[in-house]
Amino acid sequence: MTEPFQRAEFHRLKVHVLPTKQFKTNSISLFASFPLTEETVTGVSLIAHVMRRVNGRYRVPQTFREQLEEMFGAGFAVDMQKRANQQIVCISMDLIRDEFSGVSLLADGLQFIFECLCLPPVGDGRYLEHVLAEERRTIELKLAAVQNDKIQYAAKRCIEEMCRHEPYRLSVNGIGRELDVWDGERLYAFYQRWLREITVDLYICGDTSLTQVTDILHSTDARQLMEPGPFDKYLAKDISVLSGSDHIANTSPKEISEAFEVNQAKLNIGMRTSVTGKHPLFPALRMFNGIFGGFAHSKLFMNVREKHSLAYYVSSRVLDSTLGLLLVQSGIDSAKKTLALEIIQQQLADMRNGHITDEELALTVQLTLNSIRSTQDSAYERINVDYAELQHGRERTIEQMMRDIETVTIEQIAEVASSIQTDLIYFLHERKEVSS
């Protein structure tokens, strides 16, 4: 029986602590969630990018990093993710445990994280201009660099087109042409709104307890989130999430082909389902994906790659479980597009008709259980699994998740397959020579 998270809610801060000595470190993840919109996405991205380098106390990048090194090379990262129509900033820290360092780092680490979140690097009512300018540039380059990784680029284009009318089309890194609009003053004003409206979940996995963490938090900048304050009237209303069934899928899939500098063509397929994270058949969706294209024995792998040698990589994944989006990705010879597409569509048709062997089911169950169990061997995976569960309004234990997988039937998988509609076929191919 795996240890459960100990939880407490302090006004605007939800704290989840998993006491364990299994790892050499105390791992911390803080999730700050805010609505993903075209008007604000770039502002949030700038806040996150600046946060990686400086905060209100360590206002020079060099001293910020020196402090992390002094904490025995503490791991530190600020990432962003999107989930349905939310843009989530995640600050994580990895501190070696007291018995390995000879000192106690947890209090310093938590103080550091909350200085990053609650104490921005400002002066005279504006963000420090030189760091802000550097991060505008960093984001600009990052956005331009997506095209370097052709696989990533093809996936991004497919999502942009498929979700044309939804916030999910946006890159969490922001919109390039908006960067210059965000000066230090505007960003600070937005930051204050962002801090008031974010939903904050703090996770700690390590050799500590909820009581110890709570004691520490009261002496950090987390205080302002933990006690009611004058700005509470700005608390965000409950944002209803666009769920899979709200979206009207295309009756026949759209096809988009684009030319690019690639040696190998990329064929991606965007799909939608009404079976989202809150749906009772959600475990069957996970099983669907496993059989369809999630493993080396999957239908896509066995048919597109092994049987027909058309691709080195071909797979499917659940892109967003709240929206009900799936993505098939493959790298093929462009001349083989029609054949590859036919084979892929045939696999989906087979699954709709329940053509799934007992062996396919058994293998997928085994590997899915292995995958679920193996999350227990990583602090961050434990944290991420729990956070995802909470987003779907659940709080299952690992044992319950495994039972849900074991009881999925072929009929349920076929039902899920029938709920899946192909929304977009996206093809990125090499430029053809045009003879005059």
Partner: protein
């Protein structure tokens, strides 16, 4: 079974060399649900020329170690991935310059998976039909990597550094070299290098060590092995000078990429010597290029580097090379400025101590990851080094020793640069 107790990371390592020569290492980690097991052969992409015990010289096609790794999974009864999957295990494999590793992780049916791993790697089966089919797949893999600017940059640098040595050749070979691979050459490589004396097992995770060692011994005892025929791995003479100081590669990118490094040819050095060199250079380059360094912050604020800027040091018995770089709008300006900054940089005592603290933390954090432990350990093992000894080497290394290694490595005559730019970039 020998048991090593590593107090500083609170881990135990069990070790035995079996009668057939196989070296087995076990690191049980209580509380972990998974077991991660690797079975590796000291045979990689650089081993394309060897003289067998009978005096015959074999020259095999580039990419054969990687090809063999792919083919190993195909058996008459079907693909081995399926057997692992039925036993609830995720399997994988990878080929590096000097090593091929087969692995699985599982939380159930442990004994069955141990036997599957040991058996499938010890049962070669190469037939013309499935060899031909694999060529199509690997061709796509090679093309996929050709589309990756970072991969092109990495090999771009190696191509410029090494005149003759196979380190300059892509690990998967080329579309034309793999066409020459046949069953005979696969078997020749297999029989020479996939002998227990040339191999290593590493198991880490939630298992019981005495029982695990027994399973492995029983499995090996049920098979017969003739003693390994010694072979000589043959490498061309590699001069100290690089092939060329700079390599320009054209592939579509949003902005140019630069990597540069120092080529160092030295007398054969393995074991603790190798660890010391690696530790020294790692500390030095961290003092220059990690985000806490004034050099890094200057380059960042002059917008010459971005968040992907990184550095590494790779050590082999006869070579050490460094690689530093990332995206940059102006490779030439970056190179000029970096050179100035390196030449005027000194590593002071307090920075040195802080970096040692950081390195200690990073070493300990490795032990959160079973796969990192297994892969690191095996890599060092094949160079007669003990991964666990990095702790002591790092703790004891002095600033003088660091600078001695730096002075041997940082030789501006051996600086090599590679730049990736778009076709239409005329700057």
């Amino acid at each position: 079974m020998i048991v090593h107790n590593y107090e500083m990371v609170q881990e135990k390592l069990y070790q035995r060399t079996l009668s057939n020569g196989l070296n087995v290492f076990l690191m049980p980690k209580s509380g972990f649900t998974k077991t991660f097991m690797t079975f590796s052969a000291k045979f990689g992409s650089i081993d394309t020329h060897f003289r067998a015990a009978d005096g015959r010289e074999h020259v095999v096609p580039d990419g054969i170690a990687h090809f063999l790794e792919h083919k190993m999974f195909a058996k008459p009864e079907g693909d081995v991935f399926n057997e692992f999957a039925q036993q609830g295990a995720s399997a994988n494999a990878f080929t590096s310059f000097d090593c091929t590793t087969y692995l699985f992780s599982c939380s159930d049916h442990l004994q069955a998976n141990v036997n599957t791993l040991l058996n499938f790697v010890q049962q070669p089966y190469f037939v013309p039909d499935n060899i031909e089919k694999e060529k199509g797949i690997i061709e796509q893999e090679i093309l996929m990597y050709q589309d990756n600017p970072d991969w092109r940059l990495y090999f771009g640098l190696l191509n410029a550094m090494f005149q003759q040595h196979p380190l300059r050749v892509d690990i998967a070979g080329s579309v034309s070299s793999i066409k020459q691979i046949d069953a005979d050459s696969l078997y020749a490589c297999y029989h020479q290098f996939y002998h227990p004396q040339n191999m290593c097992v590493f198991v880490v995770g939630g298992f019981e060590p005495e029982q695990m060692m027994q399973w492995i011994e029983d499995n090996q005892a049920s098979k017969t092995f003739v003693p390994m025929e010694p072979c000589t791995r043959l490498f061309p003479h590699e001069p100290a000078e690089p092939l060329m100081p700079r390599n320009d590669i054209r592939i579509e990118v949003s902005q140019p990429k630069l990597t540069f490094g120092f080529k160092q040819v030295h007398p054969v050095s393995e074991g603790d010597d190798m660890l010391e060199r690696e530790s020294a250079l790692s500390i030095y380059f961290q003092s220059l290029f990690s985000a806490s360094s004034p050099v890094y912050q200057r380059l960042y604020s002059e917008q010459l580097i971005t968040t992907d800027f990184s550095f590494s040091v790779e050590t082999y018995p006869e070579f050490t090379f460094s690689m530093i770089g990332g995206d940059t709008p102006d490779p030439d300006r970056l190179l000029t400025l970096v050179r100035e900054l390196i030449q005027s940089h000194t590593l002071d005592e307090s920075t040195f101590q802080r970096i040692k603290k950081k390195s200690l933390g990073l070493f300990i954090r490795t032990f959160n990851s079973p796969s990192a432990i297994a892969n690191s350990f095996t890599g060092y093992y094949f160079h007669h080094s003990d991964f666990m000894n990095i702790y002591n080497v790092q703790r004891n290394i002095s600033l003088e020793t660091v600078m001695r290694h730096v002075n041997e490595h940082v030789n501006w005559d051996r600086l090599v640069t590679a730049v990736v730019r778009s076709h239409d970039d005329v700057s």
